[in-house]
Symmetry: C2
Subunit: 166 residues, 2 copies
């Protein structure tokens, strides 16, 4: 992006008040963002943690447990509890690694893909509505600011599969 004045804040008048509005916007928007999947999950025995696992396994089929740990930023005990129920319920398959047999490669089963679709359909519908209401320029800005707000490590996780056409 072209940044005409990287020199300082002179162009961007950032009062505490404006920043506070941004902070609250994040708070309220994130609630909306999770509201639809949460409603679906609550009818089952699952929670947001299951959603996250299913999402990232869907995004990167065959990913390992440690990989998932790095992305989700939780302990293996915490992830394992969630993963175990998903495997037991037949939503996720954990295949022993071909090259390194210590690893477990994670895949969604047909049933798991069904849940993933249901959840992401709901979440995408809201995202799509917001994008349409805001317009293309706003969408670009939205993504730019969010990216700038991430921790460097998180940004790497995010961008790591940004062009996942490989």
């Amino acid at each position: 992006m072209a940044d005409p004045t990287p020199s300082g804040e002179s162009l961007l008048f950032l009062t505490d008040e404006q920043l506070r509005k941004g902070i609250e916007a994040m708070f309220f928007a994130y609630r909306g963002f999770t509201a639809d999947p949460d409603r679906i999950l609550e009818t089952m025995d699952y929670g947001r943690a299951h959603h996250r696992a299913v999402h990232f396994i869907h995004r990167s089929p065959g990913t390992t447990v440690s990989n998932l740990l790095a992305i989700l930023g939780v302990t293996k005990q915490s992830l394992n509890r969630v993963l175990r129920t998903l495997v037991d319920d037949g939503l996720v398959e954990a295949r022993v690694g071909r090259k390194d047999k210590r690893e477990r490669n994670l895949y969604l089963t047909a049933k798991g893909q069904e849940l993933e679709r249901e959840l992401s359909d709901a979440q995408r519908a809201r995202m799509r509505a917001a994008y349409r209401a805001a317009g293309p320029q706003a969408v670009a800005g939205f993504r730019t600011v969010l990216e700038a707000m991430m921790d460097p490590d998180q940004r790497r996780q995010y961008q790591g599969l940004k062009e996942s056409g490989a």
Copy 2:
């Protein structure tokens, strides 16, 4: 297939892939958004719930308990647990309502304001850095999309106190 990067005039041709990136951007950015306050809170006996309470009492001094319940969207039992520790620790003062003595008007004490300052300084610093890196146009888009993503009720809470100068 490769996703055409939505640049400029590209009308709202929203592929699932683009929406997925938006979803993940929200996930990773929200983690960054809460990371700094979380680090501060974790050294004390407080958590994110305390932060939220302190934030909104700071924003609306004298607000009532039911008001706070509506904004935070939790049960009174849940809020009360948090509020009680804040009052006990001398961060929040709960004055009996002057007009309606059933109500409790909530205020931050000097000590409470100190914590609020510490937390919001950290959060604002990150927000400010992201805003500067992204530029004014991106910031406007960011806010527009976030607003569109909120539930109508939440949006009302958000806009309800827009008045202060902005």
